[in-house]
Structure formats: structure tokens, C-alpha cells
């Protein structure tokens, strides 16, 4: 049975008449929910289930990009609006979480790209990195040392969050993007390079620079300054 038929069967109650529609949505697989959202008119209950399922992870990704609660919430909602405006083209069999995170990330990138045009300094700084010896510096990330966050008190966790955000904020947005793409989204340097039209080696040097700057910024932070030495 295809997804369309499964969704229609379940929606009509024939698949399990004892289960109320509203209650069953939360257990539906993404493909069924996406399919119900694609239809005209879209099924708002299925949409609620899909939004609820991925809201936290989408918001968190937006938070680490924007470093601002309100901006993160706005970005996450805007990503949803974009997805819903083009809902007829949603593909139920694709990874929905990855898709909506990509939509949000692209929105954020578009804005940064526009902001970059306003100032050439950041571009020239990255251009100098392009010319640098690329090497393979990503592994240096593994020698950065910070305390085990899970063992921290609540107060220290708040401080650590603020310090990480400050360090990320001080990165050029493009460096922040490659850092997040590499270490949060798990993209390879080659994949990131395709997006930026740069070589894998160049992206590796950007990542290395981003990590280097993070180390410096974290080293200057209130939390790390008092508790640890950054190697």
C-alpha cells in the first residue's frame, strides 16, 4: 500500500476505528504526516504533530545560528512558512527534519550573504584564508579542552552557554556557518565546499580558523578563564 492510501485509510478511521484521530497523529511516521499536510486542504492536526515533533531541534539549530532567542524563534517559524507555502512539492519519503533544518539554514545564510555585501572586510579576511596553506587542520579541534559540561552546576551551565554564544558571536558568520555545518550538521569539508564553491582544502582552513578563534574567545571568557587552560 502506498503512503497516500495508508494516510487516507488511517484518516478515515478504517485502519483502527478505536483510535481517535487526534490521538493517533503523534505516532504516525513522518511520511504519513507530510502526506496529510500536502493535501488540500492540509490537515492541521497532522501539521501540529509534525511541528511538535521537530520544533525543539529546529529551534535549537536556529538558536546556534542566530545566537538570539527571539531571532531563533522567528527563523524557525519562517522556515515553517516557507515549507508550507511550497507544501505541494514536499516529498513524504525524504528526511523531513533534515529538510526543514536546511530551509532554516539557507534562510539564515541568505541574510548573512546580504549583510556581507555591506562590508568587504570580512570577505577580504576569508580571501586571505583561501590563500593560506590549507593543510588538514580539522583534527586540531580534538585537542581543544573544556570541562565536561554535564558535570557543571546550573549556574555554571548558564555561564558556559553564554560564553559559547559569545565565542560563536565573535566569529564571522561564514566561519560560524562552516563550524556548525561541520560539527553540528555533520557535513564534510567537501560538501561545505560545494556550497561555497571552494575547495575542500579551503574549507578545511576555514574550519581550522574557526576552531582557532573559538579557542581564543573561550580562553578569554569568564567561565574558562577561571577554571581551565585552553591548550
Amino acid at each position: 500500500m502506498d503512503i497516500e492510501s495508508q494516510t487516507a485509510l488511517t484518516d478515515s478511521g478504517l485502519a483502527d476505528p478505536d483510535v481517535r484521530r487526534e490521538d493517533s497523529r503523534a505516532s504516525w511516521p513522518d511520511a504519513w504526516l507530510v502526506n496529510a499536510v500536502r493535501r488540500e486542504p492540509p490537515d492541521a492536526v497532522s501539521l501540529d504533530a509534525l511541528v511538535t515533533r521537530y520544533w525543539k531541534s529546529l529551534y535549537a539549530h536556529c538558536q546556534i545560528l542566530t545566537l538570539d532567542r527571539e531571532a531563533a524563534s522567528d527563523l524557525a517559524q519562517e522556515a515553517w512558512l516557507r515549507v508550507l507555502r511550497a507544501r505541494s512539492s514536499l516529498q513524504p519519503d525524504k528526511n523531513f527534519r533534515a529538510y526543514i533544518v536546511t530551509v532554516a539554514t539557507n534562510l539564515w545564510r541568505d541574510r548573512n550573504r546580504a549583510n556581507r555585501r555591506a562590508g568587504a572586510m570580512a570577505d577580504s579576511r576569508l580571501a586571505s584564508l583561501d590563500a593560506a596553506d590549507p593543510g588538514y587542520g580539522e583534527s586540531m579541534a580534538l585537542v581543544d579542552v573544556v570541562p565536561d559540561a554535564s558535570t557543571l552546576s546550573m549556574d555554571d551551565q548558564v555561564l558556559l552557554k553564554m560564553d559559547i554564544d559569545t565565542a560563536l558571536q565573535r566569529l564571522d558568520p561564514q566561519l560560524r556557518d562552516v563550524l556548525v555545518s561541520r560539527f553540528v550538521a555533520g557535513e564534510s569539508a567537501a560538501e561545505i565546499g560545494q556550497r561555497y564553491d571552494r575547495t575542500e582544502q579551503t574549507i578545511s582552513s576555514w574550519i581550522r580558523e574557526a576552531v582557532r578563534e573559538m579557542r581564543i574567545h573561550l580562553g578569554e571568557s569568564r567561565y574558562f578563564d577561571a577554571r581551565t587552560t585552553i591548550k
Binding site: 529551534y59 579541534a141 573544556v146 565536561d148 560539527f183 573559538m214
Partner: protein, 181 residues
């Protein structure tokens, strides 16, 4: 007790914290309301824009003239619709490809009235002056706007044979993305 963490673990920890700090999700019904197309939300505004768009004529001489940057491509009558004003600014389609239901389009404003980093592009049918597609275009590094969109089956079939030099079966209403969500 302390143990070593790397940058990746640090970022993932920050991500987990952000998840736990997430505000409540928006209601689906509100998202659906916000996602309604602008021509549906403001039908009178759309009607006025469509009337003006339909009245735009592009002269043969202009259509054949090369773009200032040396590109060619048939001009598409276009209205840039901002919150506070509207402006006629023909667009040159530089690249158009429809394959496997997906539209890839590159275009340039001619002349460039004001640089916008992105537009919501509403495709208006040439004959009926009705909205047929809406998609987002973003400014690329070389001053072109690029748009990728999944097409409904009927449009994909109709546009598959379109060439960039053809007269396009649509007109554009461009809404800067900074003016809307």
C-alpha cells in the same frame, strides 16, 4: 572531576541546552494562516498589481537589445511590489531549465533599481494574469537572482520544452523578502 571535550561535543551540548530552552511550538493552524499566499490574503492588492502588470508592454527593440552586462534572454514584464511602492523593472531570464519536475531559473533585473538580497517571485500567467507559482529567488555573488522550485505536474510538462530565448508564458511580480516573511 573533569574530562576533556572537543569543539564538536561543546557545540552539541549547546544544542541540547537550546532544545531544552525552546519556546512552545507554534500552532499548526496559525502557521497555515501565515503561509497563505499574498494574493489570497490581499485579493484587491493583487488585482491592482495584476492589472498594472498586464498593461506593461515591452518594445521589440528593447527585447532584442543586449543587457548592459552582455547577457541575452527574452525580457519578462515584471512589477516589483514593495510595501510602500511599486516599480516596473523588466527581468531578463538568463537560464531556465525544467527537469524531473524541478525548475531552475536565473534572472537579472534590467536595469537594477535597488539591490535586494531576495525576492518572493510570483509567476503570473501571461494570458489569464492569474498566479500560477510562487518561489523564492536569492541574489548570487554575480548579481543574478537564482531560483529553484518544485513544479506541479502540469506546469512541469508545459514548461519542459521552454528555452531561455523563448517568450515566457508568464510575467513576474517580485516582492522583496525583506518586506514579508
Amino acid at each position: 572531576m573533569r574530562r576533556e571535550l572537543d569543539i564538536e561535543q561543546l557545540l552539541r551540548w549547546r544544542l541540547e541546552r537550546a532544545e531544552s530552552d525552546a519556546p512552545p511550538p507554534p500552532a499548526g493552524i496559525h502557521l497555515l494562516e501565515g503561509a497563505r499566499p499574498w494574493w489570497d490574503l490581499w485579493p484587491e492588492r493583487f488585482a491592482a498589481r495584476a492589472r498594472r502588470l498586464g498593461a506593461i508592454q515591452i518594445s521589440y527593440g528593447y527585447a532584442m537589445a543586449p543587457l548592459q552586462h552582455g547577457h541575452s534572454g527574452h525580457p519578462v514584464p515584471t512589477l516589483i511590489s514593495r510595501d510602500d511602492d511599486e516599480l516596473e523593472a523588466p527581468v531578463r531570464v538568463l537560464y531556465l531549465n525544467v527537469r524531473e519536475g524541478k525548475l531552475r531559473l536565473r534572472f537579472q533585473l534590467d536595469p537594477i533599481p535597488r539591490v535586494e538580497h531576495g525576492f518572493e517571485v510570483t509567476f503570473i500567467s501571461e494570458e489569464a494574469l492569474q498566479p500560477i507559482l510562487s518561489a523564492y529567488a536569492t541574489l548570487s555573488v554575480d548579481g543574478e537572482y537564482r531560483l529553484d522550485a518544485e513544479l506541479p505536474e502540469d506546469l512541469a510538462a508545459n514548461w519542459e520544452s521552454l528555452k531561455v530565448t523563448d517568450r515566457m508564458p508568464f510575467r513576474f511580480i517580485l516582492r522583496p523578502t525583506s518586506d514579508n516573511t
